[in-house]
Amino acid sequence: VIVEVDTTSPTPPYEQIRTQLARMINAGVLPSGAQLPPIRQLAADLGLAANTVARAYRELESEGLVDSRVRHGTTVTATPPTLPRQEIHRRLAEAARTYVALAHQLGATESETESAVRAQLRATAAPTTRRS
């Protein structure tokens, strides 16, 4: 599970982090009790200031999505997934449309387009597959 930040985007980095984490929590990708990385770790990995990540975590806490405790870190609170499967499928189709349009613009073949998705899925699944 990864989070991405585009520093050229007009959306501030803390808002990008907050949006992605909130989406993952609401979709149940980050289940209740899941431990989020420490602020300094995520800030270092993204090359951002610790305050930026701290602000994203604070916003999530004020929304009741995560709980931060000293020496325990930040964990996802007991929030059931609120997105129905139909909505998830709709959003995926939308994202896929954008991706395929980009692939056509770049002149990528169908197999190249598919293999890029598979490679990304493998990379995202890395920590789980490496342990097994």
């Binding site: 980050l30 431990q35 090359g47």
Partner: protein, 294 residues
């Protein structure tokens, strides 16, 4: 900690020239070692220690780590050897001081760790949400070694304070070594925390595995080297304090210090070179089902 090879009453011109040649040779040797390619055996040894599979994607990553650490550690060692020769030239006697050599090597190791830290650049950046726990990279028991050695140093300092309060002369070097031990321990612990937190690429599994292995090796070297150095300083304190101790305690401290010096060196070396398979923390959640991709 040191042994006299030869005691010369006055340094002659020829001896000075000889020392300069030796220093130049040491420098040349360091440059040769630094620039030599990293051998296949070194890479394989690294892979064995961390049960890492070397691939075309992570091979250069491991080689770069081995090259950077070797360059700085060798430079530190060579510079300390040259400094030792320089000191010998001014002090009028040549001696091999293993502590000086070790300090030089260790300072080089610390600088290498600082040089390894890379800040992500570029407009698009990605990070894994898997927390990195210190226990994944270094056994919990090993994390405690440097603090334990520091407590030992502080205990010797306390003994020195007690002796000073009783009116016995305590050499100033005791306090200096105590301060040095605390400073070294603080630097090592800060660098260890930094090593755990330094940026990790959100990349292919083999690249992340190599990054984990590198992080683990850094922590092992810092723990082993830091333990040995703090112990040496604590033992130096104890030896400096020995004459101020009453009765037979002084001799007992000297004997014990000599044994502890050897044991501490062996433990430090064992920690620094011990194998360890990184245990990744659980991912915050299973990945999104990939059924649609099939």
């Amino acid at each position: 900690m040191s042994c006299y090879i030869e005691q010369v009453p006055r340094i002659s011109f020829l001896v000075l020239v000889g020392m300069a040649i030796v220093a130049a040779l040491l420098y040349w040797l360091a440059v040769v070692v630094e620039r030599a390619p990293v051998s296949r055996e070194r890479v394989e040894q690294f892979a064995r220690r961390h049960r890492l599979v070397i691939t075309s994607a992570n091979g250069n990553q491991v080689i770069r780590y081995l090259a950077v650490t070797r360059r700085w550690r060798t430079s530190g060692l060579a510079l300390s050897a040259v400094a030792m020769l320089g000191w010998a030239a001014t002090a009028g006697g040549f001696r091999i001081n293993t502590l000086t050599l070790f300090v030089g090597w260790f300072i080089g190791a610390l600088i290498a760790e600082l040089r390894l830290a890379q800040t992500p650049s570029g407009p698009r950046r990605a990070a894994s949400l898997t927390p990195r726990s210190p226990g994944a990279y270094l056994p919990r028991s090993v994390w405690a070694l440097v603090p334990i050695a520091t407590v030992l140093s502080l205990a010797v300092t306390a003994a020195g304070i007690v002796q000073a309060a009783r009116g016995r002369p305590v050499p100033t070097i005791t306090w200096l070594l105590s301060g040095a031990a605390v400073a070294v321990a603080a630097a090592v612990l800060a660098l260890q925390r930094r090593a755990v937190r330094r940026a990790q690429p959100a990349a292919e599994p083999d690249v992340v595995a190599a990054d984990d292995a590198i992080r683990s090796r850094s922590l092992h070297v810092l723990a082993g080297g830091g333990l040995a150095l703090v112990l040496y300083l604590a033992l130096g304190q104890a030896q400096a304090l020995a004459p101020a101790m009453p009765g037979q305690h002084g001799q007992q401290i000297r004997d014990l210090s000599a044994v502890a010096f050897v044991v501490g060196s062996l433990i430090g070396w064992a920690v620094a070179s011990s194998p360890w398979a990184v245990r990744r923390a659980e991912s915050p959640a299973p990945p999104v089902p990939a059924s649609g991709a099939r």
